[in-house]
Symmetry: C2
Subunit: 303 residues, 2 copies
């Protein structure tokens, strides 16, 4: 993108992910915390799902962060479910999604129960979010880049209402709780994105030398073993894999453990690939989505 004029910092897209909620609440009360970061840029703060926050749940009727596809936003009827209505409202305020959106960048702060560190999720190869995120992998331990390419119009994520976005996944943190160390690291990280937006607007960020980054790119989601579709899960994440997000999983490595204590091994991909890098391992919110982990491939790039 050329100049960054409008940034949205959002928390509470999932109501029980409290780091973003409290960060946005803090900044709403104390604008001096962030206002000097990027002079001339309009920074909007939003608590995306107040109903879910009130209930201390991920969502009330439907996952809000799966409600922003153009199809959902364009529905000719007024949706019955709260989150579909709220998605349209957020789209009216910060969008409209597409070429004419008024928002250049959404920084959407999430938590995960998985051991993801500071995971920076990019949905598109936007020059600013790539460069800024690359810088942040140098500045923050455990900052990692997850590239989840999205066809923007079809994508259900809130961030895709803007021209570019970073979904910031902070973990491990149990849903409904706070972790002081993660809160402070997240606040510094989000402030750095704002400062880097200013650096971008001054034409300086673009001049930085290329940065070598590890990029974890979405491959596929992996469900839990089940005796038949719809059955209860028949195995758990293997103890040797639990907590090892972003580590290598090779053909023959232990993947699941059944309730009878049997080890199930990773068999490799159908295309012959024998090493993947699982993330979102054992994320609580993904049990209902039947996702035991997301498999990624790792590459090294210069950004």
């Amino acid at each position: 993108m050329s100049l960054i004029r409008n940034i949205v910092v959002s928390g509470g897209t999932h109501g029980n992910e409290r780091t973003g909620v409290r960060l946005v609440e803090k900044w709403m009360e104390h604008p001096e915390c962030y206002s000097a970061c990027c002079p001339g840029v309009n920074v909007s703060l939003v608590l995306a799902n107040p109903e879910a926050m009130r209930l201390n749940r991920r969502y009330r009727d439907h996952d809000l962060n799966r409600a922003f596809s153009q199809t959902c936003l364009d529905a000719s009827f007024e949706p019955h479910q709260y989150e579909f209505r709220r998605a349209r409202e957020l789209d009216r305020i910060y969008g409209p999604k597409g070429a004419n959106t008024k928002t250049d960048l959404i920084l959407d702060v999430h938590n995960t129960g998985s051991n993801m560190g500071l995971c920076l999720i990019l949905s598109t190869r936007d020059p600013f979010t790539m460069k800024a995120s690359a810088v942040l992998t140098q500045e923050f331990d455990e900052a990692r880049i997850y590239y989840q390419p999205e066809e923007r119009s079809a994508s259900p994520y809130f961030g895709t209402v803007a021209k570019a976005d970073v979904c910031i996944e902070i973990g491990p943190q149990q849903h409904g709780t706070l972790d002081a160390r993660l809160f402070e690291r997240t606040e510094r990280l989000v402030k750095r994105y704002l400062e880097l937006a200013d650096e971008w607007n001054r034409g300086e960020l673009q001049k930085r030398a290329p940065i070598q980054v590890e990029v974890f790119t979405q491959l596929r989601d992996l469900g839990y073993p089940k005796a038949w579709a719809g059955a209860p899960i028949s195995a758990m994440i293997h103890p040797e894999l639990l907590g090892r997000d972003f580590g290598a999983l090779k053909r023959g490595d232990k993947l699941f453990r059944t309730f009878d204590g049997e080890d199930l091994l990773y068999e490799g991909e159908s295309d012959g690939r024998d090493t993947v890098y699982p993330i979102f391992i054992n994320e609580p919110a993904y049990y209902e989505k039947d996702i035991a982990m997301s498999l990624t491939v790792k590459s090294v790039e210069e950004w």
Copy 2:
């Protein structure tokens, strides 16, 4: 108690605490997993809160494990809220609470997000549960005894429907998830209670030499700092305290960290006591109860 004739093993008293749920489901399907542990004893398995399990929440309308006081059970009207109805149903099946209960022992399996290890919660100084739990602290790393004395009639806990009970709190495990290592340890632990019940019935357990145990006894719950009652919390658990359940907290130690990064220190108890042992630190389910942690005192006893 004299002879143990009827034992209830329950899971899912809180619907999103899955270790107990899956353990009970496994044993229902494979009675051979436990049936040889205590011949002659009638072991009943129960999923205590199926509605909450279906919703993957702690409870539907009201915390089931706060619904078993005699007052709640005796209400002359049919309660509107699901859990109060379910409590009366469980009391009819396994009680009735009081001297005439048909159940000698309830082993109620819970999970906590706090770093509690295998926490054995005793509500009364019953000889069997004391001796058996003492044995288990020798057999299992991280097995600890929490003594939470309850006036049995007024107590709201499911376990108090029986003559004696152990509430088994397994953690850290995020609600709504499973952890294979904890599942396997829990299964072994519950089986050992059944075997020790048999040893008790044979008169052998009583003959074991006294066992020195650390007993953590309930002192008081500690809430989060707030600007005023009903305000949002103004501080988080201090990073140096997080995960240190059962460790000593001394006057002057770091207790909370505000959102502005200020450290709040533990000031000691009003009675002059200057060392306590916090447990249930940062338990997700206790945010709504305004409990940041439970403070205990530690003693060494011979059981």
